[in-house]
Chain length 207, copies 2
């Protein structure tokens, strides 16, 4: 079915907006919008507000750049976590994945991506400077690389290693229990949990 | 991955709202929300507004109950359409499906569902009274049943036929080119277009 003729401009707008989301085609968008239309006005307003409020009010933690409702995120402001141990991840989803394993008691650093020349993403587009600064302040004793085991992830690891290795810290990476070529977020909790417990010295991996 | 620990209440709210939509799980919801978060504030506002405005401002055509931006929909207010020919459909999606075939020049009547005792939907929950009124006004010479060829669709057809057959009108149904047991909206345009051109006298189907 091609959807060309909408009976209402308002309907068409809502469908077009939904269809901009990744993985949502015009037909699915129409189904979702018609579903919303059947719900109570209150519920629909709550839906719209949840999204606009998120965009307007959400903050990024000043330390680790994770999403947060406050200046400093729950993890960075938790004094029972090990602040000498920093896990470097690509994005917020990866923080959530690792938190769900309940195996990690350190803090994080969210790069906001990985180095990918094909997509035009270089080191300056990522939160690398702030990571170097955190390490230079001297209270961090170990940095764990927890990036996807893809070529881009490996390049980013290597770039970070070069930048960090002259500091007197341990640089580790997730145990290669994570299958090579896999995206981090699709790894099951058990494997991911083990791989962070059995992390390896980065030096041993590249030599 | 179980998503239990959200770094932000705002994020959690937005994900929960998205995950209420049919066919959207928690993980997909998170992906969509994080995608929105990366977009411009303007775009996100437009998304939220498109949905709340649709719910607040959209109308239903007073004649055919199709979705509309005005009291009377584009189709009902179009004087070049054949107002003596009324196609009875289950919902708005079906109007759009038939319009896309570009084979039909009459008007519509949207029931808003079909009779389904299992789901507790009886004749009084549907726009049947208003259909009978339209027919009684006397300017309609043919009613086409274009409901899904399921048991519920057939029962609804039969119920409507009993109510309408004492009026002096032709009562037709879509040609059975539509495979029996199929939902109308999944039928390809060609089949649907042919089936509305070659519509059959309802009397011949039930005898």
């Amino acid at each position: 079915m091609n959807i060309e003729q909408f009976p209402s401009k308002l309907l068409e707008n809502a469908v077009t907006e939904f269809a901009r989301l990744p993985g949502i085609g015009k037909k699915t968008a129409l189904r979702l919008v018609l579903h919303l239309l059947k719900r109570d006005q209150d519920e629909v307003h709550r839906f719209g507000e949840a999204i606009t409020r998120l965009k307007d009010e959400v903050m990024h933690c000043l330390l680790c750049h994770n999403i947060s409702d406050t200046d400093t995120c729950n993890i960075c402001s938790n004094s029972s976590r090990d602040h000498g141990l920093v896990c470097v991840v690509e994005n917020i989803r990866d923080v959530m994945s690792i938190e769900n394993t309940q195996q990690y008691k350190g803090v994080y650093h969210v790069l906001g991506g990985i180095i990918s020349p094909m997509d035009g993403i270089g080191p300056s587009d990522l939160e690398i400077e702030s990571l170097l600064k955190r390490v230079e302040e001297g209270s961090i004793r170990e940095v764990i690389f927890a990036l996807s085991t893809t070529m881009e992830g490996d390049s980013t690891n290597f770039y970070l290693y070069k930048k960090l290795s002259n500091n007197n810290i341990r640089i580790t990476t997730l145990a290669r229990g994570v299958s090579v070529g896999d995206e981090l977020e699709f790894t099951d909790e058990l494997t991911l949990g083990r791989s962070i417990v059995n992390r390896l010295l980065y030096e041993n991996i590249i030599s």
